[in-house]
């Protein structure tokens, strides 16, 4: 293997300069996706630019309106144990806690998870129901993307070459209860076969439901949300599951793997909805 440079900028401006200074330079955070691609020969960056020492990418900030700004270089372990994230976005705490095994969670970052953009990436359905937004910094300065603008296709996001994802913005979710469910073959190493994220707020009259791993892009399933809003009860939970299944079928089509996946979609969505409803604080 050719000698590859390892560069570790400590400011955002330095990172953007380094990335632009020569072709083929590539951002690395935890390296748990990128190192596997390099090993498999799918990627051969000229240099690795480690962004984990940049202050803006670290820590969680509480914003004035109860929203959070989560640093892109936070590991899944940090996210899983952060009390502010647990308070505002337990669906994300649980999604991050479900990634890989301990060793992976201690190294892998949320920024890497979203920029890598795999359809099975576990935080994506959670970020979809949270209505998260993404802040980047690049040659053209700071940019902000909604989740729809951010994910373009499987493995493809709007983050351009030389652009650094700095923060994930999570709006406050007052009065909502959250649930995350993951279905995988082996918990520790397997990528998700299905992930479901639900946020329900019967008093506010809204519900947000998203599934991961069975759709090409993370996104909410409006028909399932509408079905749940009919009553926020067990019957509505079942209807939401059925609506999610119909939606997945209409997008992904009758592929052989769907014989297994479709019934799992409806039951996992129903289960996640019931879980979210049962977690509501009783007044």
């Amino acid at each position: 293997m050719a000698k590859r440079e390892y560069l570790k900028p400590t400011t955002l401006h330095e990172a953007v300069e380094i990335l632009a200074a020569a072709p083929g330079r590539r951002i690395v955070a935890g390296g748990t996706d990128l190192m596997v691609y390099i090993r498999e020969g799918k990627e051969a960056p000229a240099a690795l630019v480690d962004v984990t020492a940049i202050p803006e990418l670290n820590g969680v900030q509480k914003l004035g309106d109860g929203a959070l700004a989560v640093g892109a270089a936070m590991t899944h372990s940090m996210i899983g144990s952060d009390p502010d994230i647990r308070a505002v976005a337990p669906v994300l705490s649980d999604a991050s806690s479900s990634v890989g095994a301990v060793q992976i969670r201690n190294l892998a970052t949320i920024g890497g998870n979203v920029v890598n953009g795999a359809v099975a990436a576990d935080t994506l359905s959670a970020l979809a129901v949270l209505d998260a937004a993404f802040l980047t910094f690049g040659p053209e300065g700071e940019k902000r993307y909604t989740i729809e603008e951010f994910f373009l296709a499987p493995g493809k996001t709007a983050v351009g070459v030389g652009e650094v994802l700095t923060k994930i913005l999570i709006p406050a979710q007052p009065g909502a209860s959250h649930a995350f469910i993951k279905v995988a073959r082996r918990r520790a190493a397997a990528i998700s076969r299905l992930a479901v994220s639900v946020i329900a707020n019967p008093d506010g009259g809204y519900a947000r439901i998203a599934v991961g791993a069975v759709l090409p892009k993370p996104g909410r399933i409006t028909p399932a949300e509408e079905a749940l809003k009919e009553g926020f009860d067990l019957a509505a939970a079942k209807a939401a599951g059925e609506a999610a299944k119909a939606h997945v079928l209409s997008i992904s089509g009758e592929r052989p793997s769907m014989v297994y996946k479709l019934p799992v979609v409806s039951s996992a969505v129903e289960k996640a909805v019931i879980k979210a409803l049962s977690l509501r604080e009783v007044k």
Binding site: M35, V36, L48, G100, V102, Q103, L107, R187
Partner: protein, 153 residues
């Protein structure tokens, strides 16, 4: 790139290139062969090392990240003359057969006990869920770790 870090309590330094993994560096430059390469892609845990007290996969961990950090390999745990309670219990419970997974298992257990000296059975299972063992069927390993926690009481 030049990195300086603490390795099993001693200050060390090395010249590395961008793709060097911590696993390769430890094995090839420092002759520490306790951490092993099983799968090379984060799935088996044979390469587990502790960095600043937390378990990571040495096969994915870039050596460039080691600068300024504290690394512990199995060679830094206990030793023949002063076995760590975990090592003692692994021996007593027959938790070692071929031994390939053992350094990683010990370090995953060690990382758990540093943070949580009295874990539950479930917490033990979660802590070693990233470590594959093809020999023991896990039961002796889990028992050994639980026994080591009782030792500390």
């Amino acid at each position: 790139m030049f990195v300086e870090f603490t390795l099993n309590g001693e200050k060390v330094s090395a010249e590395i290139s961008g793709e060097t993994t911590a696993l390769a560096l430890l094995r090839e430059n420092f002759d520490l062969i306790g951490a092993k390469e099983g799968c090379g892609v984060g799935e088996c845990g044979a390469c587990t090392i502790l960095v600043d007290g937390v378990a990571v996969n040495g096969c994915l961990y870039l050596a460039g990240k080691l600068d300024g950090r504290e690394v512990v390999t199995v060679e830094g745990v206990g030793g023949e003359d002063a076995l760590d309670p975990l090592q003692k219990k692994f021996m007593e419970h027959g938790a070692v057969q071929c031994g390939y997974c053992t350094p990683g298992m010990l370090l995953s257990a060690k990382a758990l006990l540093i943070r949580n000296p009295k874990p539950t059975l479930d917490e033990v299972k979660v802590a070693i869920s990233g470590n594959l063992c093809r020999c023991t069927g896990y039961t002796p390993i889990v028992k050994a770790i639980m026994a080591a926690t009782e030792e500390g009481k």
